[in-house]
């Protein structure tokens, strides 16, 4: 990639496959090289696990809270502090796909248990993923499979499994399955439910466990996607993962989440992928690897279509917040008031663990409206404008190395480099230069100069993160 520095390539990778990285981490990864960094991301078990003991000691409700903010805070804290960024990013990916909301469950630790499940199979085999999510009590309750009985089927889970979790309604302007397939799918999942559980009071919340009730399962013959047999739920999953539509659906989801904003899922039946070759490459890897998500991600991150997609995606609120916090190096260890960070995502339109519908959040430009944009800009500007943040102090220190007197253009170039690198338009650059040029001299040679310099730099950082470009990953 001519003119594109290794640091910039790594920064792009870390924004997409993680939640951004500090300049120091980028330099570390740059020394490792791009492909080696991809492998490290794909193998999170090689990195130290998250230090739950410290978090649970200082913030006990991260483990045993009964209110949903407990787990929103805990998850946001993990996104910021994790040393396994792709594992956490894939957890967010699956939360987008298997969108489940606490609002119906009202059994909040169950949502944390689902997150643990998503994290555990984050880069696993897609068959296993579909099977496990079908047994997840949060999903079972969310989509009424506990009401799916032998002789009285409830089609909700069966329908969404096909429509939103695996195949999609259609592709290439055709249908992927029929209404009869939905009914037969639902019959196959009868008896997949959860065991009764104690109420929240008097001693706190408890999680459900999956329970298969053979006496409530429809053991009769079923016809599904052209195959016939006495299918149970796992047989249905086996058939689903063999479908070309499934490879297409998963590939488009991965492309949309990691590469470039696609149209929303409901329109995929009639809207072709924007990069047909890219989707084809991912589909091929799906079948070659027997549905191994890690293999698909390896193809994706090492592809030219990914490397050339820098700043083509609007950051989700979770990505924006976690990225800013990692940049300023705040909440990388336990600290009070993490709810202020978690709640900020909701104000920006992404109430984690509470997606608006089973379809999940609409992404891309739909993240941005006037209210959300103000929240995004204010959140980022407040953080990078705070000189007490360790990451901001490090940026100031690095910029001051060019002193004792620094030209405005030099300062701007280096600041853009350290914040991203962020690529800005010529108009934006002119605006930022206008801010800097009001200072006749930018000096940092004496303690008094440094005080002024900190003010100049934090002002510049606030303007950079307020830019249109910073809204993109």
């Amino acid at each position: 990639m001519t003119g594109y520095s290794e640091i910039a390539r790594i920064a792009h990778l870390m924004r997409r496959a993680g939640f951004g990285a500090s300049r120091e981490d980028l330099e570390h990864y740059s020394d490792m090289g791009y492909e080696a960094t991809v492998e490290e991301l794909l193998n999170p078990e090689l990195q130290p696990d998250y230090e739950d003991d410290l978090a649970y000691r200082y913030v006990p409700y991260y483990r045993m809270g009964t209110g949903i903010p407990s787990y929103q805070c805990y998850w946001m804290y993990r996104m910021i502090s994790t040393r396994r960024p792709l594992e956490e990013k894939m957890t967010l990916f699956w939360h987008h796909v298997f969108a489940t909301s606490h609002s119906k469950l009202n059994r909040n630790p169950q949502m944390n248990k689902q997150l643990k499940l998503l994290r555990s199979f984050a880069m696993g085999n897609f068959r296993t993923i579909l099977l496990e999510i079908s047994k997840d009590p949060a999903m079972i309750y969310w989509l009424d499979n506990c009401e799916n009985h032998n002789g009285a089927p409830n089609e909700n889970y069966g329908r969404e499994l096909l429509e939103l979790f695996s195949m999609g309604v259609g592709m290439d302007e055709g249908s992927n399955y029929s209404e009869e397939d939905v009914k037969e799918c639902a019959r196959a999942f009868t008896g997949w439910t959860m065991a009764p559980q104690l109420p929240r009071y008097p001693y706190g919340d408890y999680c459900w466990d999956f329970e298969y009730r053979t006496d409530d399962h429809d053991h009769g013959e079923k016809s599904f996607l052209g195959e016939t047999g006495r299918f149970n739920g796992d047989d249905i999953v086996d058939i689903i993962v063999r479908q070309p539509a499934t490879a297409r659906f998963l590939s488009r989801h991965l492309y949309n989440f990691f590469v470039s904003d696609e149209p929303q899922v409901p329109s995929w039946q009639t809207t072709d992928p924007q990069d047909v070759d890219a989707i084809k490459a991912l589909e091929d890897e799906y079948f070659r690897s027997n549905g191994d998500v890690r293999s698909m991600l390896r193809v994706l991150f090492n592809s030219e279509f990914f490397k050339n997609a820098s700043y083509k995606k609007v950051k989700s609120p979770a990505e924006l917040i976690a990225g800013v916090m990692r940049l300023v190096d705040d909440y990388t260890t336990p600290k009070p008031n993490s709810h202020e960070i978690a709640f900020a995502a909701a104000y920006m339109g992404q109430d984690l663990l509470n997606p608006p519908t089973v379809e999940g959040w609409h992404t891309g430009k739909e993240w941005i409206d006037s209210g959300a944009l103000v929240e995004r800009v204010n959140f980022a500007a407040d953080r990078v404008g705070d000189i007490s943040m360790p990451g901001v102090q490090r940026i100031v220190d690095r910029l001051s190395v060019n002193g004792p007197v620094i030209k405005a253009a030099t300062l701007l170039d280096h600041a853009l480099e350290l914040v991203g690198p962020v690529e800005v338009s010529s108009d934006r650059r002119s605006e930022l230069m206008t801010y800097l040029e009001k200072y006749k001299e930018i000096k940092c040679g004496t303690p008094e100069d440094m005080t002024n310099f900190e003010s100049v730099v934090t002002g510049l950082l606030r303007l950079i993160v307020a830019s249109r470009e910073f809204q993109f990953a």
Binding site: D53, Y56, R57, Y58, V59, P60, Y61, R63, M64, G65, T66, G67, P69, S70, C73, P196, Q197, L198, P199, R200, Y201, P202, Y203, G204, Y206, P336, N337, S338, H339, F343
Partner: protein, 329 residues
């Protein structure tokens, strides 16, 4: 010749105090520590949500589960708590609460009126970096676990620095992010050496005497022990925080037994709670066949011994205190 065999005690569940509630309702929310006062008084330190300020507080009650009052809230102001860790009572009934975030100890009278705050952040003598466990010796000297300085500091009753022991490490006498602290009847000091997965016993002067436990989940092993207490016979009770259990050792550190929580029936406050919604909660309970999950500990943090040698287990995740009695069959 007659061989004498030591008769080991067993531990029987007695009753429970508490249920999940926030003042003015009677109960606890995320209790992390408790202090036994005179005449059966009990002070329970609750550290729950930060996003609802009323959910960090101290409940004053008694061992008969009579609710007396509550005080404190989340925040950084006088008398508030941010990361409250432990609570203790001195000989005249004043109540001390350590706060790991604010690096201070708040001192209240027995009615919860703030008397003073103590503490300065740092690593010099008399300074703290995340004060955790706290206990008073027979002379009313205050011993404080200075957790991120990995040491124990001793202060006189009026707050004057007296001595210190411990340093960071995993060797004998060294500590890693310690948490709870307690004394035996001879004034020996027991420290929950949290990140070293062990209990260390020191002489009253801070000389290391004994190490109890090792990392793991087997009998006698520990995962992040947070609290420790010693009864009148020298049995050592450890809140095995990461393994959701309490383990018992003899005075030489040999494993004696464990208990995992046995709460059955309801506390008085829980009974009242159930009575307020007999149809809803009873209907949900009626279809449940296995009540094990309700009975067992969930992140037990602190163990205390009262003047009757009863064992109080602060069962943080279940918002209650389970009380056990030692018996010899």
């Amino acid at each position: 010749m007659t061989l004498l065999t030591k008769v080991l005690p067993s531990f029987k569940y007695s009753y429970t105090i508490g249920n999940q509630a926030v003042p003015p309702a009677h109960g606890f929310s995320g209790p992390v520590s408790a202090a036994v006062g005179a005449d059966g008084l009990l002070y329970v330190l609750c550290s729950y949500y930060e996003y609802v300020p009323a959910w960090k507080f101290v409940v004053k009650c008694n061992m008969d589960e009579d609710y007396i009052k509550h005080f404190g809230s989340y925040g950084e102001g006088s008398g508030q708590f941010t990361w409250p860790n432990s609570i203790a009572v001195d000989s005249v009934g004043n109540v001390y609460v350590t706060d790991e975030w604010l690096n201070r100890i708040s001192v209240f009278d027995s009615d919860g009126n703030l008397q003073q705050t103590r503490g300065t952040s740092g690593s010099e003598d008399g300074e703290w970096d995340r004060p955790a466990g706290i206990v008073f010796d027979s002379e009313d000297n205050m011993l404080v676990v200075d957790s991120l300085n990995h040491r124990i500091q001793k202060f006189s009753q009026n707050g004057e620095f007296l001595s210190k022991f411990g340093e960071f490490g995993s060797g004998q006498g060294q500590l890693d992010t310690p948490w709870g602290i307690n004394l035996d009847k001879d004034g020996n000091v027991y420290v929950a050496d949290w990140r070293n997965d062990r209990i260390q016993k020191f002489s009253p002067d801070g000389v290391p005497i004994l190490q109890i436990g090792s990392s793991g989940s087997g009998d006698g092993q520990l995962t992040r022990p947070s609290g420790v207490a010693v009864d009148s016979e020298g049995y050592v009770y450890v809140a095995d925080w990461g393994n959701d259990r309490v383990q018992v050792y003899d005075s030489l550190g040999s494993y004696v037994g464990q208990f995992n929580g046995d709460c059955h029936g309801y506390s008085k406050w829980a009974e009242a709670r159930m009575a307020s919604d007999p149809e809803g909660m009873s209907a949900e309970r009626a279809v449940v066949t296995d009540f094990t999950i309700e009975r067992v500990f969930f992140q037990p943090t602190t163990v205390r011994i009262d003047d009757q040698d009863r064992i109080l287990v602060v069962d943080t995740g279940r918002h209650r205190i389970q009380i056990y009695e030692k018996q010899y069959n």
